[in-house]
Structures are given as structure tokens and as C-alpha cells.
């Protein structure tokens, strides 16, 4: 992804990897004895260099965030770092007018994505899976938004929502003074307007994940259901959907992470002003805004980290445990 940020969607990787056979394990043990000293050094470098880079830039910084969240720092010299305990968090929870709305918006983001584009993507995938003509054309049209950058999507949708010149207001005649519907500026509307754009993109993504899941459904299951006289809905409900379980897990995790990562679209729309605050936006504003409060920004990041890990850890444990058992 997002790049993901939001642009990033690497979470797609998931699902249980193929198992390790006992024969393989034995083979690898005998491998070890065959390794020369040089081989061992090569291997250490092959694993070490990427790990060092990844750990230094991703995990050390994540842990540094936790540490900095309990301090104040002006960022100039290391000696200006001062331990303040939970001060940043109490301020955040009690005095920041943007924090709770941001949490709420992140939750709304997730609820909307899981309730609208996800089932719609599943529905479209089921329809497209029916060996239908022009399937590729439909798929491409629906999937196109996933390929385009979130920033670009933001600009395209602004053309739709612009109060004066936008498509919607022009069509419904709300672009005259006194009749404005300010989709981007109105704090009661803008989050929903952005969520439509986000859902537009998410649907295609979900559709592709489900199409891949449907391809792996054993055709004999469908035949058996047909022989038993099940209609389309019954077949889907009792035969197809249960076999999509691994895909559903991936979809759930992807959607939660997307909701936590949401950033580009909002930033391009209105920089997270009134009505569209998100945790990611609050963190970023602390860096590129005028006031650089490092400890405070880190405290928000820690909240984001805690929510993310609450999703990531159980998911990975389940995924990797399956692999071990296999």
C-alpha cells in the first residue's frame, strides 16, 4: 500500500502458507552439516542485511515512538528530552478537542468499509465468477481505482464534489448562491463524501480478493450442491461462503488496517480540517504543521500502534500457528 499509506495494500498477503512436510524437515537438518564456513557467512549476510534495515527503520522507530510518547522534546538536542510520564496521554485524552472525534472517525471509516464496499465487492465477485462474457472488461472498470494513487483519487473526487463547479451540485442545481451544498467544507457532510470516494476504491480491491478466493473453491462442491437441488442463494450461503473463510479473515484484517491507515484522501481533500479528523492526520500535523510537539505526536502514534497491534498480533499468531501445524 499506501504507499501506501493507504496506497499500500500489502496486507493482502495473508492466509496460511503451504505446510512443511516431515520429509522436508529431515532434509534441511542434513543440509546444515553440508554448509561450509563461507556458506554460513553468506547466509548470515543474506538474512542480516535486510533484517537490519527493516528493524532499524520500522521496529526501532516504532519502539522509539513509545519511548518518546512519555517525554517532551523540542527536537534540537538529545539533552532537551524530558520524561513527563503520562502527561502527553492525559492531555490527549482530556484536552485535545480533535482526539476523540478522530478516534470516532477511524471507527466510522472501518464500519462503513466493512458494511458497504466489502459485501458489494463480494457480490460483484460472485457475479463475475459465473463465466460471464466481458467479465474482464467489468473487472477492469471496477478495479481501475485501486491502481490510481489515493492523492489522484482525491483530486478526481474534488471535481465531483466542488460546490461551484462540481458534477453533483451542477446536476442537482445546488451551485447557486444560497443553495450551496458544500460537500467538502460542511463538517456534517465531508466525512461521508470522502467515505464514498474511499468505498469506490475499496470495492474493487475487495472484489479482486474475493475473486481469487472463489477461484480456489472446489468445483465439485458446486456440483454436489446443484445435484442436491440447492438454488443460487442456498449454494452461496451454505457451500461457497463457508469455504471463503480464509479470504474473509484477510478481508477483515485488510479493512481494519486500511481504516487505520486512511490518510492521503483526507489530506488532499481538506487536510483533515473540521469533520474529517483521523489519527493519522493528527500525527502528521504534528510533524509538518507549525507546532512540532514530538512527545505529543508520538502519544497519538502510540494509540494508533496499540490498536494496530491488537489486530496484527492475533492475526499473525493464527496464520503462523496454522503453518506450524500443517
Amino acid at each position: 500500500m499506501t504507499t501506501d499509506t493507504t496506497t499500500q495494500t500489502p496486507e493482502a498477503a495473508a492466509a496460511p502458507p503451504p505446510g512443511v512436510s516431515p520429509a522436508r524437515t529431515r532434509a534441511t537438518h542434513s543440509h546444515r552439516r553440508l554448509l561450509t564456513r563461507r556458506d554460513r557467512i553468506t547466509l548470515a549476510l543474506m538474512a542480516g542485511v535486510p533484517t537490519l534495515l527493516h528493524v532499524a527503520l520500522v521496529w526501532v522507530t516504532a519502539i522509539a515512538s513509545i519511548f518518546l510518547a512519555f517525554t517532551t522534546w523540542d527536537g534540537i538536542g538529545f539533552d532537551s528530552i524530558k520524561w513527563v510520564g503520562l502527561d502527553n496521554f492525559t492531555q490527549l485524552f482530556n484536552d485535545n478537542p480533535q482526539f476523540w472525534p478522530a478516534v470516532q472517525h477511524n471507527v466510522i471509516w472501518f464500519v462503513v468499509l466493512i458494511l458497504i464496499p466489502t459485501p458489494l465487492g463480494l457480490f460483484l465477485a460472485v457475479q463475475l465468477d459465473k463465466r460471464i462474457r466481458f467479465s474482464r472488461v467489468y473487472q477492469t472498470a471496477l478495479f481501475l481505482p485501486v491502481v490510481i494513487s489515493m492523492a489522484c483519487i482525491g483530486f478526481v473526487w474534488q471535481l465531483v464534489y466542488n460546490p461551484d463547479t462540481g458534477l453533483i451540485n451542477s446536476i442537482i442545481g445546488a451551485n447557486k448562491p444560497g443553495h450551496y451544498i458544500d460537500w467538502i467544507g460542511d463538517p456534517h457532510l465531508n466525512l461521508w463524501a470522502i467515505l464514498i470516494a474511499a468505498s469506490w476504491r475499496h470495492t474493487g480491491y475487495m472484489m479482486i480478493l474475493y475473486l481469487a478466493g472463489l477461484k480456489s473453491v472446489d468445483p465439485s462442491l458446486r456440483e454436489a450442491a446443484a445435484l442436491d437441488g440447492a438454488n443460487e442463494w442456498q449454494t452461496f450461503k451454505s457451500v461457497i461462503f463457508p469455504t471463503l473463510r480464509p479470504t474473509n479473515t484477510v478481508v477483515l484484517v485488510v479493512t481494519i488496517i486500511e481504516a487505520l491507515r486512511a490518510f492521503d484522501l483526507v489530506f488532499v481533500f481538506n487536510k483533515g480540517a473540521q469533520g474529517t479528523e483521523l489519527l493519522s492526520i493528527l500525527v502528521t500535523n504534528n510533524i509538518i504543521g507549525e507546532s512540532s510537539r514530538i512527545g505529543y505526536g508520538s502519544a497519538i502514534a502510540v494509540v494508533l500502534l496499540a490498536i494496530s497491534l491488537a489486530v496484527i498480533i492475533p492475526y499473525l499468531i493464527a496464520t503462523f500457528r496454522k503453518e506450524r501445524r500443517a
Binding site: 500489502p10 553440508l34 457475479q127 462474457r133 489486530v311
Partner: protein, 295 residues
């Protein structure tokens, strides 16, 4: 695939249900393209015309003027160049490094394998904002006089390459290790017994077999890194150093009074990803589902 090529299957007589389905899918597809088509339509009209006639109106003339203006006024070629300087090394390095890790964890039975893979996979799932504050400070503190133009990791292409590689290698290591695990073990075993070095096992035996997965990941990575907005927004301060996607944000600020020009500019930045997608559609989609379809 049309059903006529499979004589044994249903011959698909024109059933009303199918027609309804086609109408529904065509309608949905069109609705999905509508915002993009609207952007194209706006971009093709001169500002002078839309400002007097309104945006929803029959066009007097359609021109590519906005596209050429956006291209020239914004020095777009320069920003495309910046993106290439970041994306090409980042994609290559990510593939090389993550395939090394994947080779290590999938072909050898060391105790730390699972933990290592967990670290990579989990790291890639974190939202970028979790790490940005310390990362930003780290980049400001890292002095590289003579190596980058800014003298620091901050505000340099190198800095962006490093964070892209670090972040994306999580996903690629996971996918590639799954892929390598599915390769028959006898291949490398025989070579090892014959005295081949570990490097040969990786470079000459394993990697060539991973070509399909590598191609899929390369496509995916190119599009993701090209589309990156966030890292460049925070870690690049000089407008001239920005890659195209975040440069667009500056441009739109400059030209926001002319939505047609902004439309043209944003569409131009989307063209490379669309070209890559249409040319390598199969790779792209298979890359996206490499992890999730394996069950």
C-alpha cells in the same frame, strides 16, 4: 471465456437472468468509471468555456490544451524523473533483499526463521504514521555530507528509497517465502550435495524459479512506490525534490482556481500506473492475491 468453446457445458441460451446481470454489471462498471470520465471531460475543456457555460454543458470544443499546459507549467518531466530515481532502485533493492530473507527462512531450518518472518510481516502491517515521528527525527539527524544533495537523509531520494525498501520488504519476504516453500526441495538438495555454494543455490537455482512471483511483485511495487504520497510529503521538504505524486499536491495549490488544469495534471500523473496496469494486468492481480489465494 465464452461458453460456446465448451460444448459439454451449458450452451448458455439467452436467459433473462443473464441479461439482467449484464445490464447490472455494465451499469455498475459505468458508474465506477464516471468520476474518471468526468475528470477527462473537464480536463478537455478550456477554463474560459466552463466558467461561462457551466460544467455540465455541451462542449463547444475539446482540446488537449489543459494537458499540455499542465505538463509544461508544472515541469512534470522533472518530477517524473524524481520518481524514477526513487522507484527503480527501491523496487530492485526490495526484490533482492526480500528474496534473500525468503530464501533463508524457507530453505533452511534455523530456529529463528518463524520469528524473523513474523517481524517482517508484522512490520509491513503497521500504519506508516506509527513510525513517522522518530523516523523524521532520525532522517534529520543522519548527516551524509557529499552523499546526498541535502547533506542528510532527510530531503533526499536515498532516504525515500531506504524507507520504501524497509517497509515493502515485509510484504515481499512473506510472499516469496511462501512461494519458495512450494518449490521441490530436491532441487537445491542435489546441488548442495554436489558441493554448490549457498549463493549458487539462491542465485542460479532458486531465483530463476521465482520469476513469476518476482514479476508480480515488481509490478505491484512499482505501482505502490509510484503512488506513494505520505513518505514524500513528510520526508522531502524541497518542492524540486518531490516525486510526481506529492508534487501534484503543490501544483494543485498553485492552480486551484482552474479545476480543468488540475484535472489534466492529476490525470497525467495517473497515466504511468494505468499503462503499467494494462500492460501487466495479470501480474498485478496475481501479485495482489499471491498471499491471500494460497490456502
Amino acid at each position: 471465456m465464452s461458453s460456446t468453446t465448451l460444448p459439454l457445458k451449458r450452451r448458455a441460451p439467452i436467459r433473462p437472468a443473464r441479461i439482467v446481470l449484464h445490464v447490472f454489471l455494465a451499469g455498475t462498471a459505468l458508474a465506477w468509471l464516471a468520476p474518471l470520465l468526468w475528470a477527462v471531460f473537464s480536463a478537455l475543456r478550456p477554463y474560459s468555456e466552463t466558467s461561462t457555460k457551466g460544467y455540465v454543458s455541451w462542449p463547444d470544443k475539446l482540446t488537449f490544451e489543459n494537458f499540455t499546459n499542465a505538463y509544461q507549467q508544472s515541469d512534470m518531466l522533472h518530477y517524473f524523473g524524481n520518481t524514477l530515481l526513487i522507484a527503480v532502485p527501491a523496487v530492485l533493492l526490495t526484490l533482492v533483499l526480500s528474496s534473500c530473507v525468503a530464501f533463508y527462512v524457507s530453505r533452511f531450518d534455523f530456529r529463528l526463521n518463524l520469528a524473523l518472518l513474523l517481524v517482517f510481516t508484522a512490520g509491513n502491517l503497521l500504519p506508516q504514521q506509527v513510525i513517522i515521528t522518530p523516523l523524521y527525527r532520525l532522517y534529520l539527524l543522519t548527516n551524509l555530507p557529499g552523499i546526498t544533495a541535502s547533506g542528510k537523509l532527510y530531503d533526499s531520494a536515498l532516504g525515500l528509497v531506504l524507507i520504501h525498501v524497509a517497509f515493502q520488504s515485509g510484504f515481499c519476504a512473506f510472499v516469496l517465502s511462501n512461494y519458495m516453500r512450494s518449490l521441490p526441495h530436491e532441487l537445491t538438495e542435489a546441488a548442495l550435495v554436489d558441493g554448490a555454494s549457498v549463493w549458487r543455490l539462491y542465485w542460479q537455482i532458486t531465483l530463476p524459479l521465482c520469476k513469476p512471483a518476482m514479476a508480480a511483485l515488481a509490478t505491484l511495487l512499482s505501482i505502490w512506490i509510484y503512488n506513494d504520497f505520505f513518505w514524500a510529503l513528510v520526508l522531502i521538504s524541497t518542492g524540486q525534490n518531490m516525486p510526481i505524486t506529492s508534487a501534484l499536491n503543490n501544483l494543485s495549490g498553485q492552480y486551484f482556481t482552474d479545476p480543468n488544469l488540475v484535472a489534466a495534471g492529476s490525470l497525467l500523473t495517473a497515466i504511468p500506473t494505468l499503462v503499467v496496469y494494462f500492460a501487466l494486468q495479470r501480474q498485478f492481480v496475481s501479485g495482489l492475491t499471491l498471499g491471500s489465494s494460497k490456502g
